[in-house]
């Protein structure tokens, strides 16, 4: 794999491709030897050897799915690759990296997860739009720009958050002083007077690691993966009173509340 100028590009064949490692920053190579991997639909770009891709609903995979796939709502986005050979994974020219979990847990934005070994088990996080991996094994995730690891306590921008490991789920943090009062209400309603766009963060406390990407570009939102409409389930849209009219949440004493107060 020597790369000297003038020699043209590096040419890969099944012998020189790495096994379960990055080919370059944007491409990851998975070696299958009769084993299985879960991968998100459409992230395979090429493979050597013979492989089969089957949807999660495939009857023969039921046992596998029962032990390591616990998110029925994402089932239509995932497939199981099995066979033998080497397979290349990539996602919109984003950086891809693999991570090893050793009897641990990690929560990641659902769109950023590309593939994982069935020795891990996938569950839906209580935070909407995130998935949690529990167990021991390897998984591959994409990020726009390299991933930065941070330690709590930390407040992060919602768009830059890729995931977190071993620490409690985050909470929302609003910049109270900036949003309250007459001026805060005016700013929120009109965008005039300098809405910085950073009034809202995710706050992490406790021990663990927080993964951030170095840009605020997100994966396209998947229409699937919602949670059942039940009272008490976060993100289900079944609110239990307190009618929020969308947009930024209102704080008491804000201008926008005048409408509600006068019953308009």
């Amino acid at each position: 794999m020597s790369h000297y100028p003038g020699a043209g590009p590096v040419i890969h064949d099944p012998m020189t491709l790495p096994s379960d490692d990055n080919v370059d920053s944007y491409t990851f190579c998975v070696e299958l030897k009769g084993s299985q991997w879960f991968l998100q639909k459409g992230k395979m770009i090429a493979y050597y050897g013979s492989m089969e891709f089957n949807g999660i609903g495939h009857g023969r995979l039921e046992r596998l799915v029962r032990t390591s796939f616990h998110s029925p709502l994402h089932a239509s986005d995932w497939v199981v690759a099995e066979g033998s050979g080497k397979m290349l994974l990539a996602d919109r020219a984003f950086d891809v990296n693999s991570y090893d979990l050793d009897d641990g847990n990690l929560t990641i934005r659902s769109g950023n997860l590309l593939a994982f070994q069935p020795s891990l088990s996938l569950k839906q996080s209580i935070v909407p739009g995130f998935l949690t991996l529990i167990g021991t094994g390897k998984f591959v995730a994409a990020s726009n720009g390299p991933v930065v690891f941070m330690e709590p306590p930390i407040r992060v921008d919602p768009q830059a958050l890729v995931g977190w490991a071993d620490c409690p789920s985050p909470c929302h943090h609003y910049d109270y002083g900036y949003m309250t009062g007459l001026m805060g209400g005016l700013r929120a309603m009109t965008g005039l007077g300098g809405a910085s766009g950073e009034e809202h963060q995710f706050e992490f406390v406790g021990a663990g690691t927080v993964l951030l990407q170095s840009s605020e570009a997100l994966m396209a939102e998947q229409p699937t993966g919602g949670v059942p409409h039940q009272a008490g389930v976060p993100g289900s849209g079944a609110s239990t009173g307190g009618s929020q009219q969308g947009g930024a949440p209102r704080l008491p004493g804000q201008l926008g509340d005048l409408q509600r107060r006068f019953g308009l």
């Binding site: 590096v10 890969h12 064949d13 491409t27 459409g42 770009i45 891709f53 239509s76 996602d91």
Partner: protein
């Protein structure tokens, strides 16, 4: 002489010779350069008509002079290809520049092109010299040989060269129609001897939804 400056800018040093490049892709030059638009990809009347008919249109300019000329296209990654008498098959939208000595043409690709949403025809580059192709993210070059056939996602395929046979595989079954497809319903299988260029990103194709 083609040279990459960074990964997204192509520098071409010229001493009186010429290169063909995508129209409007010049970003800078020093020395003396003349730019001339070549109608119909510089393939003569026949090429012009063929390109019009096949929809594989390509606006090309000829750059000629002494000095260095830099080319770039929408900050996409550039990959250099050396041709020694073999043929490069590439989508016209991915072709950035070729040596003037290389012949370009169009060829029928069949159903592969249709699955990529690129139409049924593709561009060929033939001869001895260098070509530069663009990709979304640096391309991975994969060798295909007799004992190692390769299967590629149509959305990630950008080009191939050498003596390759391609066959189209469709995994569309009743399960696909029920929304439980494998997600990789269309694949191109390459057999023979040559190189395949894939990009770490997928264009939106019909296959992407299945």
């Amino acid at each position: 002489m083609f040279r990459l400056q960074g990964s997204k800018v192509l520098a071409v040093e010229m001493t009186g010779d010429a290169v063909k490049a995508k129209n409007g892709s010049m970003v800078a030059y020093d020395g003396q350069m003349a730019f001339k638009k070549l109608s119909g990809g510089g393939e003569g009347i026949r090429g012009m008509v063929t390109r019009r008919l096949t929809g594989e249109q390509m606006t090309v300019m000829e750059v000629k002079g002494h000095g260095t000329c830099w080319f770039a296209d929408r900050a996409s990654e550039i990959n250099l290809v050396n041709l020694q008498g073999d043929k490069l098959y590439v989508e016209s939208s991915n072709l950035l520049a070729t040596d003037a000595g290389l012949r370009t043409g169009t060829t029928f690709t069949g159903v592969r092109g249709a699955s990529q949403g690129n139409g049924l025809f593709t561009t060929t580059v033939e001869g001895h010299g260098q070509a530069a192709i663009t990709s979304d993210g640096p391309a991975v070059v994969l060798r295909v040989s007799a004992q190692y056939p390769l299967t590629v996602d149509p959305g990630a395929y950008i080009a191939h060269q050498g003596n390759l046979r391609q066959s189209f595989q469709s995994g569309v079954t009743f399960r696909t129609l029920m929304g439980e497809g494998g997600g990789e319903a269309f694949q191109i299988r390459f057999e023979g001897d040559g190189l395949v260029y894939v990009q770490p990103s997928e264009r939106n194709t019909i296959a992407g939804d299945l």
